[in-house]
């Protein structure tokens, strides 16, 4: 659906007398498949918005190419525009208009006729549970309502792909959960959704695949599960009495699924395994077989933050 090769953009900005060049995006290669929710995860200033703005034809790349829904970004930006929707990070509604007016206008900007545009607006308002406020001015909406209007605007013309720049930033947990449901609904309707986020849990729970971006570059790409597995696999923490620990270590050391085994000083074992979910039953069976009693068993899976940490040397939470 989206394929980019070496997409680059730098900005020149003047600070006093000096001109500084910021390499906002330094050669991004991405592949986004049809019908997936693709997440772009990265800290502030990573270049997420800049990449999205290039893909949405708002700024011209300094270099590189991209094909979006079959249209060439450089050769045919007009066709790209017809096939995509874009919801900017900073809002896109006018205070003095109502949601309905905005939706009808936006549909008509895509060349849709008036009657059709009105029907689409009514459908979108219903789908996003906005009908109640539809004829109130946008300035009276809450942050969450406004965000829903903006997303409805982005998809009013039923694009093949929609780009959502930080769709849930600033929303309370409940509105965020609703927004996730709405984004999943778009995907289930067959749309490809490209979102940016700097929430780890959002990338993890919502996205089918993600790319981690830092400092203008994609440092990792894959499904959340793949990325985490790539890091270290899972860790199974086996709680044992101090006395039972050496025996247990002996019993488990030779098992094929255990990549590495560590003994904790206060008793218990740390097992590094590829897949915790399948390792645990085997661990249980083995220990039971050896007649050892275990106190607890715990699965620790690496988080996306661990992924970010290994790829960049920094934690996303800190940056």
């Amino acid at each position: 659906m989206i394929e980019t090769r070496g997409l680059r953009k730098s900005f020149r900005s003047r600070a006093g007398r000096e001109t500084k060049t910021v390499d906002a995006v330094r050669g991004v290669n991405l592949q986004v498949a049809e019908g997936e929710i693709f997440g772009f995860l990265g800290p502030n200033g990573a270049g997420k918005t800049t990449t999205l703005r290039m893909l949405a034809t708002l700024i011209e790349p300094d270099g590189g190419e991209a094909t979006i829904a079959g249209a060439d970004l450089r050769k045919d930006p007009a066709e790209v525009r017809r096939r995509i929707g874009y919801v900017p990070q900073g809002g896109s509604t006018w205070d003095e208009s109502t949601a309905r007016e905005e939706l009808v206008l936006h549909a008509r900007m895509y060349g849709i006729g008036k009657a059709d545009a009105q029907q689409r607006a009514a459908r979108a308002l219903a789908a996003f549970q906005l009908t109640e406020y539809a004829d109130r001015k946008c300035k009276t909406y809450s942050g969450g309502q406004r965000r829903r209007v903006e997303i409805a605007l982005g998809i009013i013309h039923e694009p093949k792909i929609v780009f959502l720049d930080e769709p849930t930033t600033g929303l309370d947990p409940q509105s965020r959960a609703h927004m996730w449901d709405e984004i999943r609904r778009l995907r289930n309707d067959g749309m490809t959704v490209f979102i940016t986020t700097h929430y780890l849990d959002e990338a993890d729970a919502l996205c089918d695949r993600i790319a981690i971006m830092d400092n203008g570059e994609v440092v990792a790409e894959g499904t959340p599960a793949e990325l985490k597995r790539e890091i270290s696999g899972d860790v199974v923490l086996v709680g044992l009495d101090l006395a039972a620990t050496p025996q247990a270590a002996q019993a488990l050391d030779g098992e094929a699924y255990v990549n590495k085994l560590e003994t904790a000083d206060e008793g218990g074992l740390r097992l590094y395994v590829d897949e915790g979910a399948t390792a645990i039953p085997q661990v249980l069976r083995r220990l039971d077989h050896a007649g050892l009693e275990l106190r607890s068993i715990e699965l620790h899976r690496p988080s996306l933050d661990d992924v970010f940490l290994t790829k960049t040397g920094r934690s996303l939470r800190e940056s």
Partner: protein, 251 residues
């Protein structure tokens, strides 16, 4: 035709928003009305005009051109608010014509200017100003071209500077000398030669002369076609340039 439809779409939307808050049309007309009521009466003796009506024939066209220049030049502020709200960016991701994004807005400015011009003209009628309707319509055409040009330029500059703080001094710096050198408030017939020499390079000076000729009923005067031609060419250039700004990247 897509372009005409797109322009109409933007124009309609802008007019709708304007009508929701029509007070701005009247705020805009307030200052010229004050000039008309409080400043113009001083003119008959100053201009050595035989009657009050004759003084108005000289003063009102200048006032209308002034209104067209200033009304247009400050429209950029509204656009900066739209930029900030993300409305422009939202429009630019759609396939709508970039020229339509500009022209729809500028035409709204032209319409609101014409409404203001009609208000001023009607008031002036109370002071015995008499103009032949055909001449008046041509004068309105001249005003429309001026407003089209100044508002387009203002939008283009707004897209370039992107901040009110930069736009305000810029527009003032441009407007003041243009205003003083166009003989808007008083004809430059009294001016010393060097001043007239400079004014010849000021397109608005030609526009004012042309409008005055029309108000004087002097349709055949060269000044009429000269003024119309100059303003039409400048309006076309202004629109062309500003539409390019809409097409280029803006943040």
């Amino acid at each position: 035709m897509k372009f005409a439809r797109d322009t109409w779409l933007i124009f309609q939307r802008q007019i709708q928003l304007l009508l929701r808050n029509p007070v701005w049309v009247f705020v805009g007309v307030f200052q010229p009305v004050m000039y008309l009521l409080l400043f113009a009466p001083l003119l008959k003796p100053a201009l050595n005009a035989p009657t009050q009506a004759a003084a108005y024939k000289i003063f009102v066209p200048g006032l209308l051109v002034l209104l067209a220049i200033f009304g247009g030049l400050f429209q950029g502020f509204g656009l900066i608010a739209e930029l900030r709200a993300g409305v422009i960016e939202r429009s630019r991701v759609t396939p709508i014509s970039r020229l339509a994004l500009l022209l729809g807005r500028s035409l709204r400015d032209v319409v609101s200017l014409i409404v203001q011009a009609v208000i001023i003209t009607l008031l002036a009628l109370l002071f015995d100003l008499r103009v032949f309707i055909g001449d008046l319509l041509l004068a309105y055409l001249m005003l429309a071209l001026i407003a089209l040009m100044t508002s387009a330029v203002s939008y283009g500059v707004a897209l370039k500077v992107k901040s009110e703080d930069a736009l305000a001094p810029l527009m003032n710096t441009v407007a003041q000398p243009v205003l003083l050198l166009s003989g808007i408030l008083l004809p430059l017939t009294f001016a010393p030669g060097w001043l007239q020499g400079i004014a010849d390079w000021n397109p608005f000076s030609w526009a004012v002369d042309g409008t005055r000729a029309l108000f004087a009923g002097d349709l055949g005067s060269d000044k009429v076609w000269q003024g119309l031609t100059i303003t039409a060419v400048l309006a076309a250039l202004g629109v062309f340039w500003a539409a390019r700004q809409f097409a280029r990247s803006v943040r």
